[in-house]
């Protein structure tokens, strides 16, 4: 409420954050940690065995890797910040204050990461002979720094799910090293190596020019490397799930990638077990140096792992339900302590921008703004998760009643915050929308103009 309200059109706020975040995870984990670790393996083998094949593979793979890391990885990482500062400024602003030092450290680590990868890239042809081992060490340093980034960010992400005692103690160390931190970090390392290994195999069998013999040998080597993190990925995922508070755990099913999985558990297992079988088949083919079979299996396997990662991230984001910072702030950035305050005193008197933008607001403007502030983080009008679908067919009084009980009725929804009069204003507005009596063309800025013409 302290900031002018903007909602991402059509896709809605959560989806756009998720698209950017998942893309970033693919690159920051899969490429920055994973592929660079695989390049490190190749370069180290090249050095130890004095093999040009391994050396060439490492060098050839490094170029697109560096371009992707610095061109998309870094930008989508900053992008999460950009998107959240625009869509949930109070949320990211509060998080920044709690985790200022981890974030500041992360900035230093991120800077070092970029410096190291640039030196690594630009010194490839120069640091040879006795300098080669330092070059290999640079790759190692980069992997460690990229993992340190994951370490720092995982503390913050974990907090958003398991804030534990922080709401009472406001203790930073406790907030950072929260219960889901350890397993989530382990999971992230495992999927990084997994995605890295798979991406490297894709590069090897589709893009890299090398002898048949070397390709088979390299596929064998990377399949062996993969055989450790792949099962670990599932194991750590399960371990992470056990740290999720029981009150949240029941939100797991609806947070899966597809609603069909929640509806039909056998389907969920069928799809996920098939995926595991596919991955095992790839491992077997790779370990047995079957390049053709690897070629056929590796892209589907990579897609499966990407989907698994996307699913994990979605579950992690969704499962914490109504809270953005559990114990402090609801997902709609209303503070837990503001809920009762607004119920008693009303929300609109404290909606700074609303009062400036619409000093003589109509009921419709009030209703629309209350909707945006209370529900707009997840619901849109006319876009994804359309609120009109939720209210279609409801009676006016029924909508009023439901709005007052969202928190109990839907376990992952925050409560409505506002006075009784405001609750009535919002429900009237929404029923009007759902019945098609009222239309709203402006879906990004709230409050909308008092009157609109189509």
């Amino acid at each position: 409420m302290q900031f002018p309200y903007f909602q991402f059109p059509i896709l809605g706020d959560p989806l756009i954050i998720m698209i950017d975040a998942v893309l970033h995870v693919f690159i920051s984990h899969g490429v920055a940690i994973g592929v660079v670790a695989m390049i490190l393996v190749a370069e180290a083998l090249g050095m130890r065995r004095e093999s040009d094949d391994w050396e060439n593979l490492a060098e050839a793979a490094a170029k697109p890797t560096v371009i992707i890391i610095t061109g998309i990885g870094a930008v989508t990482g900053v992008g999460i910040w950009f998107v959240t500062s625009s869509l949930v400024p109070a949320g990211i602003g509060s998080m920044l204050r709690v985790f200022f030092w981890p974030w500041f450290t992360e900035w230093v680590v991120f800077f070092l990461e970029v410096v190291v990868i640039l030196i690594y890239y630009f010194t490839w042809k120069r640091w040879t002979g006795h300098l080669k081992k330092y070059h290999v060490a640079l790759a190692g340093a980069y992997v460690i720094l990229a993992s340190a980034s994951a370490f720092l960010i995982t503390g913050i992400l974990g907090f958003m799910l398991t804030s534990d005692g922080w709401p009472w103690t406001k203790d930073l160390a406790g907030a950072f090293f929260n219960p889901s931190f350890g397993p989530q970090l382990a999971w992230r390392v495992a999927i990084s190596i997994t995605m890295g290994g798979l991406l490297m195999i894709v590069y090897l069998v589709f893009f890299h020019s090398a002898t048949r013999k070397f390709r088979a040998e390299a596929v064998h080597r990377y399949a062996l490397v993969l055989s450790v993190p792949l099962p670990a990925m599932f194991l750590f995922g399960y371990w992470w799930f056990t740290t999720v508070p029981v009150g949240f755990r029941t939100h797991a099913k609806p947070s899966l990638l597809m609603w069909a999985f929640a509806e039909n558990v056998p389907l969920f297992w069928m799809v996920h077990v098939s995926a595991a079988v596919l991955i095992v088949a790839l491992l077997v083919a790779g370990i047995h140096k079957r390049v053709l079979a690897t070629r056929i299996l590796v892209v589907p396997a990579l897609a499966v792992v990407f989907l698994f990662v996307a699913e994990f991230e979605r579950v992690r984001e969704f499962i914490r339900g109504p809270y953005l910072m559990p114990g402090y702030m609801y997902a709609n950035t209303v503070l837990l302590s503001e809920k009762d305050f607004f119920d008693e005193h009303g929300m609109l008197p404290y909606a700074h921008w609303f009062n400036l933008m619409a000093p003589e607001a109509t009921d419709r403007q009030k209703g629309a703004f209350l909707f945006a502030q209370n529900c707009g983080t997840c619901h849109s009008i006319g876009g994804k998760n359309d609120i009109r679908d939720r209210f279609r067919g409801r009676s006016r009084d029924g909508a009023y009643v439901i709005i007052g009980h969202t928190e109990e009725m839907v376990p992952w929804m925050p409560p409505f915050s506002g006075s009784d009069k405001e609750r009535r204003l919002m429900s009237d507005f929404l029923v009007g929308l759902a019945e098609g009596r009222d239309t709203l063309f402006e879906t990004t800025r709230y409050p909308p103009p008092a009157k609109e013409t189509p």
């Binding site: 002018p4 869509l87 990868i117 302590s337």
Partner: protein
């Protein structure tokens, strides 16, 4: 204007330190931003120039420049994270307001950066594409890249000028002519600076190799500096607040430094000497610092009124909220203990506020509803019918769909309803026995009166299906006899079902019998 309130969590670091860090990190960031943009401008213009002169095969000089793009842009991005973090903590209200006023372009920055980076880096590392491809990719990338500083400047101009925020909104989330001019001149000042920094940086790489290039880069440098002087004067003229003494001091230093740089740059052009790096680089860095100090000065003066107000408001607001905190945390603790994995809990949480703790339709919200909530303890229905209601809700009432519960939870809930109130059982027998003659009369009444809405077979009619709410399908869903009798007698509030107390009690019981039979005959 009351400027809202700052965030309630205290900043984790002293303000002076925060501002010092912010300035330092911003300086570093801007240095690499200028090198990035300057490198791109040089590379593309050299490419076009070479193509124009038909020297493509011989030259490809832009490739060498573009390879540097990778480094500059990477450092520009990573160094930008620091000031982004610090400004959000130091100037929370103004900065987020600036961002949210220009949300669409702020979000677009990400996409534009990806397009620019991937295009330029691909060109720099695989230059042997067809010249047309190079040109098109280069121009797209350039356009994307050049838009980014423009968007940043827009957000910063907004951040620095809180007294204009409302005007920006009233102007349809855009600047008026005055602000647009100021924004444009500031933007051009950044682009001009990019040319200057880019030229000097790349000069370093050609200084001992290509004399021709050396001269060309010097011309770029002088050109850039002269543009900066002209643009800088216009920029001072366009500022929104009168400059103070410090600004005039910065301006004077800037003019002296620029004059020095022009002299340093033109000397080697005349005498065929090499640029004096020992003087040029420090002078340039100082110039950048002066540029940013001037910006800082306007920002500090622009925000001097807002920041204390926002902080004082936050304190006052925090004090108003304090009494609510304890209860809020208590509610949170209770909430975290609720696990929606069993029917009774789901009923308690999702249904009882209307249907009542004992399923009598007397929940705390029942009084608000024109169509009273169903007394679940007094109905007999089927699993399929409840599933249907869970899928669609009941039109014209408060009853929503419950599709957000997965199949297992819906089943658990239905089972809980059945365990507690036998909703899936057959209706109890109608204990009030009715004589055959009355029963015949009841059947007639059904056909003449009830069937109009409920249909001859109790399934409703095409017309009544559109009622809000529609009558239930009696083959699937009936009230227990005593409740059915009450409904016939008193009607169902909020619906077309009116009171039929004028019918003889025996006849009403006859109607109850008909209804109950419909359910047992077809549905059980």
């Amino acid at each position: 204007v009351n400027f809202g309130h700052d965030l309630l969590l205290n900043p984790p670091i002293r303000e002076t330190a925060l501002r010092g860090l912010l300035f330092g990190t911003f300086l570093l960031h801007m240095l690499f931003v200028l090198l990035t943009v300057g490198t791109a401008i040089l590379a593309l213009s050299y490419f076009i120039h070479a193509w124009w002169d038909n020297r493509l095969s011989e030259l490809r000089w832009d490739k060498r420049i573009l390879r540097m793009f990778l480094m500059h842009k990477s450092l520009a991005v990573v160094l930008g994270v620091g000031p982004l973090l610090l400004i959000q903590v130091a100037f929370t209200i103004p900065f987020f307001t600036g961002v949210t006023l220009f949300s669409p372009v702020w979000l677009l920055i990400i996409l534009l950066l990806i397009i620019a980076f991937i295009s330029f880096d691909s060109l720099g590392h695989k230059i042997d594409v067809h010249p047309y491809v190079h040109l098109v990719a280069g121009i797209v990338a350039m356009a994307a890249l050049l838009a980014v500083p423009g968007f940043f400047v827009a957000v910063l101009v907004a951040t620095e000028n809180p007294e204009r925020w409302l005007a920006v909104i009233q102007n349809g989330f855009g600047y008026d002519a005055r602000l647009t001019l100021h924004w444009l001149l500031r933007y051009l000042h950044v682009i001009g600076a990019s040319v200057v920094f880019g030229a000097v940086f790349h000069y370093l790489f050609v200084v001992h190799k290509h004399e021709g290039k050396r001269r060309e880069l010097l011309r770029w440098l002088v050109f850039g500096l002269l543009v900066q002087v002209a643009g800088g004067i216009a920029l001072y003229w366009s500022v929104l607040k009168p400059p103070d003494v410090a600004v005039y001091a910065y301006l004077s230093i800037g003019i002296v430094l620029t004059a020095l740089l022009v002299w340093l740059a033109t000397r080697p052009m005349r005498a065929d000497q090499v640029l004096h790096y020992g003087l040029v680089v420090p002078a340039l860095l100082l110039l950048l610092m002066v540029m940013l100090l001037t910006r800082q000065n306007f920002q500090d003066r622009g925000l001097s009124g807002v920041m204390p107000v926002a902080k004082a408001n936050a304190r006052a607001y925090g004090e108003r909220l304090a009494p609510y905190e304890k209860e809020a945390l208590e509610r949170y603790r209770r909430r975290m203990d609720i696990v929606y994995d069993n029917g009774p809990t789901i009923y308690q949480q999702s249904c009882s506020f209307c249907h009542g703790p004992d399923g009598l339709g007397d929940g705390p919200e029942a009084g608000e509803l024109q169509v009273p909530p169903e007394a679940l303890a007094e109905i007999r229905t089927t699993r399929g019918y409840i599933e249907q209601i869970f899928a669609d809700g009941v039109d014209g009432t408060a009853m929503p769909g419950f599709t957000y519960y997965d199949r297992r939870r819906r089943r658990l809930l239905i089972t809980a309803l059945d365990t507690r109130w036998q909703v899936l059982h057959a209706p109890p027998p109608v204990e009030h026995k009715v004589a055959k003659a009355v029963m015949d009369s009841a059947r007639k009444t059904w056909s003449n009166t009830c069937a109009g809405c409920h249909g001859p077979d109790g399934r409703g009619t095409a017309q009544s299906a559109g009622f809000k709410p529609p009558p239930p399908d009696f083959t699937q869903y009936v009230p227990v006899p005593s409740r059915a009798f009450n409904i016939i007698t008193r009607g169902y509030p909020g619906t077309l079902m009116s009171s039929h107390s004028y019918l003889a009690a025996d006849l009403r019981w006859g109607l109850v019998t008909i209804v109950e039979e419909m359910r047992t005959k077809d549905g059980a």
